[in-house]
């Protein structure tokens, strides 16, 4: 009986030692992070060389960013991927929208921090949304722009308000076999923005917005007489402005500080 008791006690002690060595150590790899996101314009954002010799001086230029996402996918030039959301590739998200004064070079923080993982991010996405990214209609003003365009002695004051809905920015399907070749969500998501960064807890993701690329293809010769660029793609100037707003790598630079 004594031998049995001793053996049982020895067994229990051995169990305790083994248990101590097994429990609580190790990890599943990676970690979750929370970090700030801030956006700003680039220096000299108010003085721009536009297309066809036009010089643009901006007095107002705000851009509404609905959300920012980072993902693992390496950008592929000419990708024909239709779907706007590819589950499983997103590493970080900033969901609190911000109206960014792109004429200011001071970093303007988003209201709430971003969350994600410390995986290496290779692509950034800027969502120019005010609601459901797939909704056909969205009245949110994405860009509100005012300034003057001058070429020689010609000075043209102008304003532009940009919204994104199916009626003004949608691209009709050219192939009836593919009715969803150009979903409206594609018009609202600026991607791919090439990046190579690894978010860390407590850092800051800086988004620099270069307004010069907005106007790089805008020829103000097409500006209507009232100086208001139409909020659709019927006018070449407004269409090129919309394209410039969504010029991924040219307009947006993402870095982690």
């Amino acid at each position: 009986m004594r031998a049995a008791t001793r053996a049982a006690l020895a067994g229990i002690i051995a169990f305790g030692v083994v248990a101590g060595g097994l429990v609580g150590c190790g990890s599943t790899g990676g970690s979750v992070v929370a970090f700030d996101v801030a956006a700003a314009g680039v220096p000299g954002a108010s003085l721009i060389e536009a297309a066809a010799g036009w010089h643009v001086t901006l007095s107002r230029a705000t851009l509404h960013i609905g959300a920012v996402y980072l993902n693992l996918a390496v950008p592929i030039s000419g990708s024909q991927e239709t779907s706007c959301i590819l589950p499983g590739i997103y590493t970080a998200q900033e969901l609190s929208g911000l109206d960014v004064d792109t004429l200011s070079t001071a970093l303007q923080p988003f209201p709430a921090p971003a969350t994600g993982t410390d995986d290496e991010a290779r692509t950034g996405e800027i969502w120019l949304t005010g609601g459901d990214v797939n909704a056909d209609s969205d009245s949110t003003v994405i860009a509100d722009i005012a300034g003057t365009a001058s070429r020689g002695a010609q000075v043209l004051p102008f304003t532009a308000t940009v919204t994104i809905s199916g009626r003004n920015r949608g691209i009709p399907p050219s192939d009836p076999a593919q009715p969803s070749a150009h979903p409206i969500c594609k018009q609202r998501i600026v991607s791919p923005i090439p990046i190579d960064l690894r978010p860390r807890d407590g850092g800051t993701l800086a988004i620099l917005i270069d307004t010069a690329s907005w106007f790089s293809a805008v020829d103000f010769t097409a500006l209507p007489a009232d100086g208001v660029l139409p909020d659709n793609n019927s006018n070449s100037a407004s269409q090129n402005l919309f394209t410039g707003l969504r010029a991924a790598a040219a307009t947006f630079q993402l870095s982690f500080r």
């Binding site: 049995a4 049982a8 150590c25 190790g26 996402y69 590493t91 797939n134 593919q178």
Partner: protein, 851 residues
């Protein structure tokens, strides 16, 4: 090939070795077959000692003699006032080993505490002449009626033993080491709250049960570092019949045990690890076998009512003249459920008859039917709960839930002739399962260019899986002697054919219409297994138990929705929104179906060396290989079936003794299990999917102490589970599980109408350590206490049971993955914590009458 040859050699050689023994070898039969309640490994001492002086076993015609009472001591009549004394009968079922020693007495007449205890104590003090077959002593069990008659002389009466004819019942397999746990239900089953039969698994070490699918969805089981989901890694049997569903699209091996009425579970055998050759497909983390029975005879009716509109009515019938294997039971259950969308209804009927077949046989017929309909809440995002956007017990998707049905008939035949026992079993089962669950919200609905434009329509899975299963199995066990020691060899077979049909749709949440069919499989799946199991006594202090098993799995799968996309579609007839396409590149026609057949075979050696007992201690070493068949959705034509192969090692130490008349058992084991293809949870699939190899390293300590007024069962299991390629922890599985069940019982110092008032109190404690989650996160711990209290008087029992007595708000399951339930303005696409809520305090009042 070499292993197969060795197997064949073993199969042929061993019977010859055994049967070649001369008939007058002078060795008693093999160890007694009856299972011991929660006993340690049946060591070599458990069987009758070989004695050269004993008579030679006859090889002539079989003769049977029932056990007889050789010496008995009458019990005293309890201390009851003379005016209230009257004759009382207590029926006791008792096992008698081949040496004539009684064990495991159970009162099977209606409760009558002071008489019950005296009757049990009295029977244990008797000396029996063992039953004999062919002149050789064998183990048996019998029922005796102990009569307390106040008219008898003095304060004691003589016992009138009514011996039933020799009974055999189902002969249990020998234990295979410290990880082989056998538990008699008893008061642990009735007094600790158990929602369903799956929760009885917590009697064995290391089990954690969770459920994100609702009351009607099979419990998710974690064991020894495995996320066994709903049975994919645990072979589940009921009366030996395998109940894992092969081909179930939600999980190959899905085992819903709600059809078992917990009160009709007489015992439970759990083997943790693949160490017994009788274990088949899905015995990765281990196996569990429920033995149905009803020890309480007569008509028992009970009704429970309590929190959240929960009601449960139960009717059990056990004919007083028959033993525990003859019963019928009906259960009706309904609840509104805690929180949103957790209502459930189910009904179960189970019946069984067992009787002798001639002089040498026994037959048993078990039937059952089960229906369930329920809703479930699914997961809640932690950030939504923290921000107050969702309550702890809320749901995102009210479409979640399910339904199920099962009907089965199971027949057993057991025949003993001389030293050979043969058992055959045949079953037919029809079952349906519908499951609707939503782990991700609005995330997975991909827009393709061929479809009409759509946003995210919702990720609700609507899965239907129906199956008809025919199963046949059997074994022949031969006892004999070799090298002066009793030996036992068992040859067994297992055959199973399943016809299953599964479909899975995604449901548009706004309209509840299916918008895509993700799967449509018809499958005929076969499994034929053969095994040889040896219980070899190498010496009085050493036994080698094990053998080899081989299984052949066949697959015949028709994928009715084989083509979901085409790279270069027809411009004339584009695929549009259809799910199952009838075209291939450039519009060439094809049928949307794809047929595939394949097969694969495995050979699985298993062995346990059990030593002792030395002063009650039995060390053991075990090795075993296991197998898990592949999900039919992964089958390709003529591609060798990629099984999951399991290798497991274990060292154990078991102690069993009765110091101070307190039955004590203790088990300690260390184990290592490696799986070459594991299954890991995928939230997008809503189930476990194939992953890389994994290894578990762990240890388990458990014990049970029981006396005349208490019963205590406790266990602690620790395990480290890692991926083989990275060394990283496997997410979601707990590394520490502690469980304790305590029951105290006895008579109160009061009487009503001359009859004593009995009381029983129970306490169940569960602790689960922080579980590893993806991205180095850890879950919360779980700590819950369940309690019960009941009073028994005459034929009546009144009680109260409380689950989660402290009303702890705990997270039953926790997950890290991306989901988007439209709870924020923009899609939530990165990983986030989600949880399923554990039940708050649930109190049930309970009234039971036994007539």
């Amino acid at each position: 090939m070499i292993r197969l040859s060795l197997l064949m050699l073993l199969l042929f050689a061993l019977p010859r070795l055994l049967y070649a023994q001369p008939a007058d070898a002078g060795v008693p039969d093999a160890p007694g077959p009856s299972p011991q309640p929660d006993a340690g490994p049946a060591g070599p001492e458990a069987g009758p000692a070989p004695s050269p002086a004993q008579p030679v076993p006859s090889s002539g015609p079989s003769t049977e003699e029932p056990p007889r009472i050789a010496q008995q001591t009458p019990p005293p009549y309890p201390d009851v006032p003379k005016v209230r004394q009257k004759p009382v009968d207590v029926v006791v079922h008792v096992e008698v080993d081949a040496g004539g020693a009684p064990s495991n007495p159970r009162v099977i007449s209606p409760p009558n505490p002071p008489f019950d205890d005296l009757a049990v104590a009295s029977v244990l003090g008797w000396v029996f002449e063992p039953a004999r077959t062919g002149g050789q002593p064998v183990a048996s069990h019998l029922t005796v009626t102990v009569r307390f008659d106040p008219a008898a002389k003095g304060e004691t009466i003589l016992v009138q033993g009514k011996l039933n004819a020799l009974e055999r019942g189902h002969q249990a397999a020998p234990e295979v080491g410290a990880q082989d746990v056998r538990v008699e239900a008893g008061k642990l089953a009735t007094e600790i709250p158990h929602k369903d039969a799956t929760e009885l698994l917590s009697w064995a070490p290391g089990f954690l049960l969770t459920n994100e699918g609702g009351e009607g969805h099979a419990e998710q089981i974690f064991l020894r570092g495995f996320d066994a989901r709903e049975g994919q890694d645990i072979e589940m049997r009921v009366n030996g019949d395998v109940v894992n569903q092969v081909g179930n699209l939600h999980g190959n091996g899905y085992a819903d045990l709600h059809f078992i009425i917990p009160e009709l579970v007489q015992s439970l055998r759990v083997v943790e690890g693949p160490y017994d050759p009788r274990q088949g497909n899905f015995a990765v983390a281990g196996s569990a076998d429920y033995e149905l029975g009803l020890t309480r005879r007569g008509l028992t009716g009970s009704y429970e009512v309590g929190s959240f509109g929960t009601q449960r009515a139960l009717l059990l019938w056990g004919s007083p003249g028959s033993d525990s294997h003859n019963f019928a039971g009906v259960e009706l259950y309904q609840t509104s459920g805690f929180g949103q969308n957790r209502d459930a209804r189910r009904a179960t009927a189970l019946g069984q008859v067992e009787s002798k077949l001639g002089e040498d046989g026994l037959w048993r017929l078990t039937t059952g039917a089960y229906l369930a309909d329920y809703h479930s809440a699914g997961v809640i995002r932690e950030d939504d709960y923290a921000a107050g956007r969702k309550g702890f017990y809320d749901t995102y998707d009210f479409g979640q839930g399910g339904a199920g049905s099962r009907a089965f008939v199971l027949g057993d035949l057991e025949v003993q002739h001389d030293q050979v026992t043969a058992h055959h079993q045949l079953s037919l089962t029809a079952e349906t399962m519908r499951l609707r669950e939503d782990f991700t919200g609005y995330l997975l609905d991909q827009q393709t260019s061929f479809q009409q434009p759509h946003g995210q329509r919702g990720d609700l899975i609507d899965l239907e899986s129906d199956a008809v299963t025919a199963q046949a199995q059997g074994w022949m066990r031969r006892t004999g002697a070799l090298a002066g020691q009793p030996q036992e060899l068992e040859l067994g077979y297992f055959a199973r054919v399943d016809r299953s049909s599964s479909q899975q749709y995604r449901i548009e949440i706004a309209t509840q219409h299916p918008y895509v069919k993700e799967a449509d499989l018809d499958a005929t799946l076969g499994d034929v297994g053969l095994y040889a199991a040896l219980n070899a006594r190498l010496a009085r202090w050493a036994a080698l138990r094990g053998g080899v098993r081989t299984d052949l799995f066949t697959y015949n799968v028709i994928d009715n929705c084989a083509v979901h996309e085409v790279a270069h579609p027809s411009k004339v007839t584009p695929p549009g929104d259809a799910s199952c396409l009838s075209q291939q590149d450039f519009g060439r026609f094809r049928e949307p179906v794809q047929h595939a057949t394949t097969s694969g075979a495995v050979v699985l050696p298993r062995a346990s060396l059990v030593l002792g007992p030395f002063a009650g201690l039995s060390p053991s070493l075990s090795y075993g290989q296991g197998v898990r068949s592949i999900d039919p959705s992964y089958i390709s034509q003529d591609v060798a079936t990629p099984f999951a192969r399991i290798q497991s090692y274990e060292a154990g130490l078991a102690y069993k003794g009765s110091p101070g008349d307190i039955d004590t058992s203790l088990r300690l084991s260390g184990f290592r299990t490696q799986v070459d293809r594991d299954l890991i949870f995928s939230e997008t699939a809503g189930r476990n999917v194939l992953a890389n190899g994994t290894t578990r390293l762990g240890a388990s300590l458990s014990g049970r102490v029981s006396g005349s007024w208490f019963d205590q069962n406790a266990s602690v299991t620790v395990v480290r589970s890692t991926f083989d390629d990275t060394g990283l922890l496997i997410p979601y599985v707990p590394d520490v599980v502690v469980r304790s069940d305590s029951v105290v019982f006895g008579d109160l110092p009061w009487q009503l109408d001359g009859k004593p008032l009995g009381a029983v109190g129970g306490l169940g404690v569960t602790f689960v350590g922080p579980r590893a989650l993806p991205f180095s996160q850890r879950s919360d711990t779980i700590f819950t206490i369940d309690g019960s209290l009941s009073l028994t008087w005459n034929h009546y029992t009144l009680g109260v049971k409380a689950a989660n007595l402290l009303d702890t708000r705990y997270r039953l399951g926790e997950y890290n993955y991306s989901s988007d339930f439209h709870s924020q303005a923009e899609p939530t696409l990165t990983i986030a914590r989600q949880f399923t809520a554990g039940a708050p305090r649930t109190v049930l009042l309970h009234l039971e009458v036994t007539l």
